[in-house]
Point group: C2
Chain length 306, copies 2
């Protein structure tokens, strides 16, 4: 996905936010914004927002001297999410359509974002979402919810490459991964970032949240907010290109990969107006977007009740 | 009011918005943002956001070549608001506390902003607000609603200087001005901008909305979004400094004047997080702020029922 002019004011907002989370003084925050003003005129709209984000966060890290300012936030996110794990398991046990429920739980986890919002507020939002009776909702395809093609594709493959997004969210990913492994018997590879960027999950986060019991954990090698292939390791690129099915979590990965020809399924909450417009959906929508947009006819929702 | 770092991302948003309303191509919009990036590093937080806004809109006007891009929007706003005038007069007729009702109507008019929102949406919002039974609400002072000191001050003066904000909003100002003139017998001077800036009211707008039947209309001489005294004419400065009571509409005027020692009463809807924080209120709050914060004890609300 290319960048839009609307991304520019947003870069400033994000840079200020990140500088503050890094504990920078007002002077240093100002330095960050001034440095950004030097970068902006040379920034091509043909680069993805994720790639631009990468440049910005590298600059912020240099200016503030903080390599992993979100570390505590990430640890808290993981703990908060793990507390919700038992309730999610009950939700799965009671669900009529377990695959759809697992997908929805995974998307709910995407609400855990920059960690600026207080944990209480995020936790409350998630609990509210969890209390919704998923089965009472329409369990079929929506305009931006390619559930049937996801399920169809899943039935055709042996393995799934799963691109993580944020810490904490990892626990919600685990629910879906557990189900893909135990019920669909898929081999899952879980991909985290190579170095700290924002609150994105690293190997330690994935292990802390227990992903290692169900999937192999690898790093993409990059520290961009979203898997920007140009910054990834050759090993990861090979795995990515050979993947039969890729589940990609969050906006950053959508920004970085939405133009790629691989069999990608984007799971995210649309959080910004630019992405919502690009997807043609509303802010706050739960999105399951099949990058290939295969013309698969809806099949009967005969999901196992185990 | 000084500027805050949070104003910087907002300047970019506003600049992009203004460039688009000016009908600029994407290349020219980009040029506007790049030019802004040259200005930002030299921008002192000790200047008010209104002063910075003035520099930005002057630059946009130069780059786009459009001197009054909001002209049509302003004309539409005036017509839309005039259609609401009869309903407001009925509201006034039926009101138990007419002064408070006139103040509230004047503040409701402040919802007419940049004109980016469709007129239908603004009109719907206003109609919803008008349907609220003002008398059923608490008619006393609130934390950011210095009604009693406003009324007390009004009783002590012969004349009122009224600083306009947006076109369209002028009709809502007229309701309050009519009441100040006909019931309180005040001399009112209505102050508009000297040259086009955003959708701010000019002399023509004030006349179109019928202010001339109740008040003298003058220009402040400046074209800043908010009456930035440094940019105003010496004639206006003299009138401003001699004013017994100044009613100042909208955020721009609050940004420009909140530090001044004059007897200012700010009437506005808090629309941005920085101003809400500065005032200590919530976004969307109706604000009547007495700049002097005189310690006047609440008096009985014995407003005339005419």
């Amino acid at each position: 996905m290319k960048s839009y002019l609307d991304c520019i004011p947003c870069f400033y907002q994000q840079a200020l936010k990140a500088a503050r989370i890094s504990g920078a003084s007002e002077e240093v925050q100002r330095e960050v914004l001034n440095n950004l003003s030097e970068i902006i005129p040379h920034f091509s709209l043909n680069t993805t927002p994720a790639e631009m984000g990468s440049k910005i966060y590298t600059m912020i890290s240099k200016v503030t001297g903080k390599k992993d300012p979100y570390r505590e936030i990430k640890e808290e996110s993981n703990k908060m999410a793990l507390k919700m794990y038992p309730e999610m398991k009950i939700k799965m046990k009671d669900a009529e359509n377990k695959l759809l429920t697992a997908i929805r739980l995974s998307i709910i986890g995407n609400i855990i974002d920059f960690g600026i919002e207080g944990f209480d507020s995020i936790s409350e939002k998630i609990n509210k979402m969890l209390r919704i009776d998923f089965d009472s909702q329409v369990n079929s395809d929506g305009e931006h919810f390619d559930y049937f093609s996801f399920r169809q594709h899943l039935l055709d493959v042996d393995s799934v490459l799963y691109l993580a997004d944020n810490s904490g969210e990892v626990v919600f990913d685990r629910i879906l991964i557990e189900y893909l492994v135990t019920y669909y018997h898929k081999n899952v590879i879980y991909v985290v970032k190579g170095k700290p960027v924002l609150n994105d999950a690293l190997v330690d986060d994935a292990i802390f949240c227990g992903i290692n019991h169900y999937a192999n954990i690898i790093s993409c090698g990059a520290d961009s907010p979203g898997v920007v292939l140009d910054y990834c390791s050759p090993e990861f690129i090979r795995i990515f290109d050979e993947a039969e099915m890729i589940i990609s979590k969050g906006q950053g990965n959508y920004e970085a990969l939405s133009g790629e020809p691989n069999p990608l399924f984007f799971l995210l909450i649309a959080k910004c107006p630019v992405i919502a417009r690009h997807l043609g959906c509303n802010i706050g929508d739960f999105v399951l977007e099949n990058s290939l947009k295969k013309k698969i006819l809806p099949i009967e929702a005969t999901e196992s009740k185990e």
